[in-house]
Symmetry: C2
Subunit: 227 residues, 2 copies
Amino acid sequence: MNPHISEQYDAELDATRNQLMEMGGMVEKQLRDASDALIGQDAVLAETVILADKRVNQLEVEIDEQCVNIIARRQPAASDLRTLISILKASTDLERVGDEAGRVAKMAISLAESGISADEFNDFRHIANLTQEMVASSLDAFARLDTEGAMRVIASDAAVDDAYDELVRQRSLRMREDPDAIQRDMSVIWAARALERIGDHAKNICEYVVYLVRGQDLRQRNKKSPS
Amino acid sequence: MNPHISEQYDAELDATRNQLMEMGGMVEKQLRDASDALIGQDAVLAETVILADKRVNQLEVEIDEQCVNIIARRQPAASDLRTLISILKASTDLERVGDEAGRVAKMAISLAESGISADEFNDFRHIANLTQEMVASSLDAFARLDTEGAMRVIASDAAVDDAYDELVRQRSLRMREDPDAIQRDMSVIWAARALERIGDHAKNICEYVVYLVRGQDLRQRNKKSPS
């Protein structure tokens, strides 16, 4: 390949990777804001999360188009092709993280002004911290093609699942004792469910990293049965 | 292109498309069996759904590898490239439909032998029928590249969302009045939630059809805010 064309090509690949990281930064912020909005019962902050989703959705479309264009024009070698396919797949997962953050924001709006003490959300905050960490680490692993980091994120998903199961158990018990709390507890359970799904998407992204680097597909080997 | 090579290439594309349809048939069966298992409180049938998920997951990996191989070896033109990218994306959605069917099956197991009359599941059955129809029609639209059919499926998702909201509302009211029903109603709500997500995946598949045929991206234009 002509070195000039090859430079252009590398620049295109880098630009696409950078855009995926930009999208990652945006959904990280959505996730953080949505969780803070729920705990702080802040409807205004929650609205910003829902508004930001438009831009995240646009970015997914732009990234996909770029990947398809690069593949069509550059006819990349197998390893670059895997990179582009991984970016295509990761952009879908990030878009779904944005959707789930939007669901948390909707629950935050339904809980707003209910005057619940922030202490009542310790179980939710714990899951929010775990999933924020998972998303951040999955983006790091993708950027640095760090399979060990990716494997750690994949392993950490079990902690999110456990924390989520415990939240559902405790809040279901409370609903039995206090029917007036049903609406509120249901909202918190929905929001926690959205976080649990976000953990799954972070895990997916890490599985693309492993697939990319090792050229093997871990996606099915690590597959837990649906929870 | 040499006509012999071109024939091989068409055969490869067809084989991949057929495998996606085979995968579609499998998740349709998972969805039907999982819903029947829940309504009929049949734990044995539910177990078969969970077992079938392994094969569905394998198929996703095989289809992805085939798409990547075809792209790498054949350097397809833009329109074939779009087809292959759409197959790659649709396989991910079908795999997630299988996961969601597995979640319904898990709820079916938790409800098994509880001796609830099938009449009590009319609300759930309604959503199950709607989503089965959506999945079947989305696969038809993909196979026949039928954008009108695809647009109908996209429009029908609102009916699933409405039916789901109504189920949650009714069952939440009942939980207030009958705390002993909380566990059961929560299980039905989880299962209905899984169906509602399956409707979203069917909609995604139809959006790839429209993208493929019209070469434009409807994904963001039709985007509802997360529910």
